[in-house]
Symmetry: C2
C-alpha cells in the first residue's frame, strides 16, 4: 500500500528533493498534503503534478491570493495555525518536516501526538525542544527518523548495533566556504560569498549556518536528542569533500561510516522507506573517481558559533532555544544586509550571556523564550 | 563464563595478535589449545604464559623435539593428523583458524562438524572449498566469523541490514609495495622488496600475496562464500592508507564503511566477542590526524593475479583450488629465491590452463586436486 506523505515545506530544497523521490516511486508513495511559507507559484505547480488533498500557506497574504487559483476539491489551511491544523487534522502516514526554523515545532508536535512517522529535516525542532520532543515521541509511540544527511548517516551506522557499545558519534562538516580564509578577513565577508556553499545547494538560512558552522552546532544538539548521547560523546571533524556523511566509533575502536556522493534524495528515501531500502539508480558513487578524502580539526577560534552551540548544550534548559532564536534573527539581518558576518556570533553570544535561562522548560516556556529572544536581540 | 579458544597457528602474526587480545581480557577468554607449524621456541613461551591443556606441532621433527620440554599435564598432538585431532577431540568454544594455506582445511572441517564458532583467518579454506564449507556450517549449525580485516569490515557493515538490499561489496586493497612501480620493472623485483609491505606487518606468504595482489583475489573468493554474493557483486578498490577496511554499497546508493587505524586486534576481538563488542583502548583513530584517504582502480595489467582469481571464481569447481595450490607453490619457490616475481602469475595461469577441472568436487576431490596441482606446477 502506498504511504501518504504530508510534506511540510515543499518549495524548499529538501521539499523539492522529497518530491523527486516520490516522483521516482509512485507505487510506494503519494502526496497527501503540501505546505509552503509563501512560495505559492511553486506550490501551484506541485499541486498540478502531485494532486494533494490538502495544502497550507503560512503567509496570510499569499494564502488569500492562492485561494482564487486552487483546483476544486483541495482544502486550504492558512497561517501558523493552518500549519498546525494540517498536521493535526488531515490524513497521512509520514510527516516530512522540511520547514525552516522554529516554525516547524508546533506542527511536528501535532504529528507526534498522532503517533505518525516523523521524518525530520527541520533540525531547529530538536534543537529548541529536544528533550520534550523525544519524550513525546516515546509517549505517543511516534517514530522519529532523521533526514539530515549527517544524522541519517549516524542512524544507518547504528542499525543492528547496541547503544551501549558506542564510544562517540563523529559528525562531519564540509567546513563551508570560509574554512581556509584567515580570521582577519572574516569581517569583510560579503553576503554573496557566504551564500556560495562548496558542496551542497540549499536554502539561504542553512547556507549561512553552514558558513558560520552554526549548522554543525545545531546538528550536535540535534544528535544529542535523536540518539541520546551526551555532548562528551559527540565530536565534529571537518571533511571538505562531504563524501563521508558522519561516523560512529564503537567501544572496541571500530568505526562505521556512511558515505556516498552528496545527494539529499538518499537520506530522504531512507527515512521514507525505513527499515527497507529502495533500489535507486540515481545515487551512485564511483570510488576510483573520488581522488581523496581529507579531515581537519574544526578551528573554533574562527568559527565561534560551533563553540556557542556546545556551550548552549552544556547549559541546557532554554539555552539551545536562545541560541537558535538569536541565530535565526542574526542570520535574517545578515541576509537583509543589515549586519556583518562576524556580528552573527556576537549577537548569539550576547543573547546567551544576557537572557535568563529557564532550567526545566515546558513547551510553553520554549515558545515564550523564542519570542522573548527575538525581541531582545533586535537591539543587540 | 570464559570462552575457551583453540588457537591454530599461534606463532604467526594473527596468532600472536590473538594472544595479545586474550592477554588483555583474561576474564573473557582463555587458551584451551595452541598449534604451530614448526616454531616450537615461540610455542614454549606461549605455553608458559597461557597454560593450554593441549598443543599440536605439525612438523614431525620439531614435534619430537618439543616432547622432551613440555610441562607435565599437557597433551601433545603431532603432524597433520595431530592438527585434525586437536580440532576433532579436545574441548574448546572457539576455533581460531590462523594456519597458513591449505593445511587449515582439514582441522576447520572437524571444528565445523562439532558446531563450534569458527573464527577464520585462514582464507585458503574458503577459497578452495567455499561451497562445501559453508554447506557444512549450515548442516552442523557452526558459526563462521571472519578474522581478515576486510571481511570483518563487510560483516560489520552488514549487521542489521538485509542481504537482499546489497548492491555490491567493495573490498579495499592497500595495493602493496609495487602499486606505483612501472610494469617494465616488475621482472626485477627482489624478494626483499616484495617482503616490505607498506601498512601491515604479516607473515611472508601473505606479504608476497599482498605484493602480487593475489591476496585480494583470494579475499574476493572468500567473500563470495562468506557472504553469498556472486562475483558480479564484488569489486576491489585500491586504498593505500588501509584505513577503510572494506565497504558495502546498498541498493539505494548508500555505502557503509568500517574503518580504523590498521590493527589486527580489532577484527580478532570482534570475532571472539560477537555479537558484543569489548571496550578496548588499544585501538584508537584520530581523524584530524588522518591527513587523507585516497582511492584508485586496481591495475590488472600489472597485477595479473587479481584477474586470475576472478577467472577461477568464474570457472568454479576446483578452479579456485588450482589457483590456490599453484599460488602456494609459486610463492614458496619465490621465497626460496628459485623464481622471479613475474613467474608467480605465469605458473598460476599455466596451472589454470592445463590442469583439468572437476566441476562439482566433493571434499576428497579437493584434497586430490591440491596434491595433483602441487606436483604438476613444480615443472612449470
Amino acid at each position: 500500500m502506498k504511504k501518504q506523505v504530508l510534506l511540510m515545506g515543499s518549495s524548499g530544497s529538501i521539499g523539492k528533493s522529497t518530491l523527486d523521490v516520490i516522483r521516482c516511486f509512485p507505487d510506494l508513495f503519494a502526496v497527501s498534503g503540501l505546505t509552503v511559507n509563501s512560495n505559492t507559484g511553486v506550490l501551484l505547480e506541485q499541486i498540478a503534478e502531485f494532486s494533494p488533498r490538502v495544502v497550507a500557506v503560512r503567509d496570510a497574504f499569499q494564502a488569500e491570493e492562492i485561494a482564487k487559483h486552487l483546483p476544486p476539491g483541495i482544502t486550504l489551511y492558512k497561517g501558523d495555525e493552518g500549519l498546525r491544523q494540517i498536521a493535526a487534522e488531515t490524513e497521512y502516514d509520514i510527516f516530512l518536516g522540511a520547514m525552516v526554523g522554529f516554525a516547524g515545532l508546533s506542527p511536528t508536535i501535532e504529528a507526534i501526538k498522532r503517533g505518525k512517522r516523523i521524518a525530520l529535516a527541520n533540525k531547529e525542532t530538536l534543537v529548541v525542544a529536544g528533550e520534550l520532543i523525544t519524550g513525546l515521541c516515546k509517549q505517543y509511540n511516534a517514530e522519529l527518523l532523521p533526514v539530515d544527511s549527517e544524522h541519517s548517516a549516524i542512524f544507518q551506522c547504528l542499525v543492528g548495533e547496541s547503544s551501549s557499545n558506542v564510544r562517540q558519534l563523529i559528525i562531519t562538516a564540509s567546513g563551508g566556504p570560509f574554512y581556509n580564509l584567515p580570521k582577519e578577513q572574516f569581517s569583510s565577508i560579503t553576503l554573496q560569498q557566504a551564500l556560495n556553499h562548496p558542496t551542497w545547494k540549499m536554502g539561504s538560512k542553512i547556507t549561512i549556518d553552514s558558513a558560520t558552522l552554526m549548522n554543525k552546532g545545531l546538528e550536535v544538539i540535534e544528535a544529542r536528542w535523536l540518539f541520546g548521547f551526551p555532548k562528551e560523546q559527540i565530536s565534529v571533524v571537518v571533511h571538505p569533500q562531504s563524501i563521508i556523511h558522519s561516523m560512529v566509533e564503537f567501544i572496541d575502536g571500530s568505526i562505521k561510516a556512511q558515505l556516498s556522493t552528496p545527494d539529499m534524495k538518499l537520506p530522504i528515501q531512507y527515512a521514507l522507506a525505513y527499515p527497507d531500502r529502495i533500489p535507486a539508480g540515481h545515487v551512485t558513487t564511483n570510488f576510483p573517481l573520488i581522488a581523496q578524502l581529507t579531515f581537519f580539526e574544526p578551528d573554533t577560534s574562527k568559527f565561534e558559533c560551533l563553540n556557542l552551540a556546545f556551550q548552549a548544550l552544556h547549559a541546557g534548559g532554554t539555552a539551545p532555544c536562545i541560541l537558535n532564536a538569536s541565530n535565526e534573527e542574526a542570520v535574517s539581518r545578515f541576509l537583509r544586509g543589515e549586519i556583518s558576518f562576524t556580528k552573527i556570533p556576537y549577537i548569539i553570544n550576547k543573547a546567551l550571556d544576557l537572557i535568563p535561562l529557564c532550567h526545566a522548560p515546558g513547551m510553553d516556556d520554549i515558545f515564550d523564550c523564542d519570542r522573548e529572544v527575538r525581541l531582545a536581540v533586535n537591539s543587540f
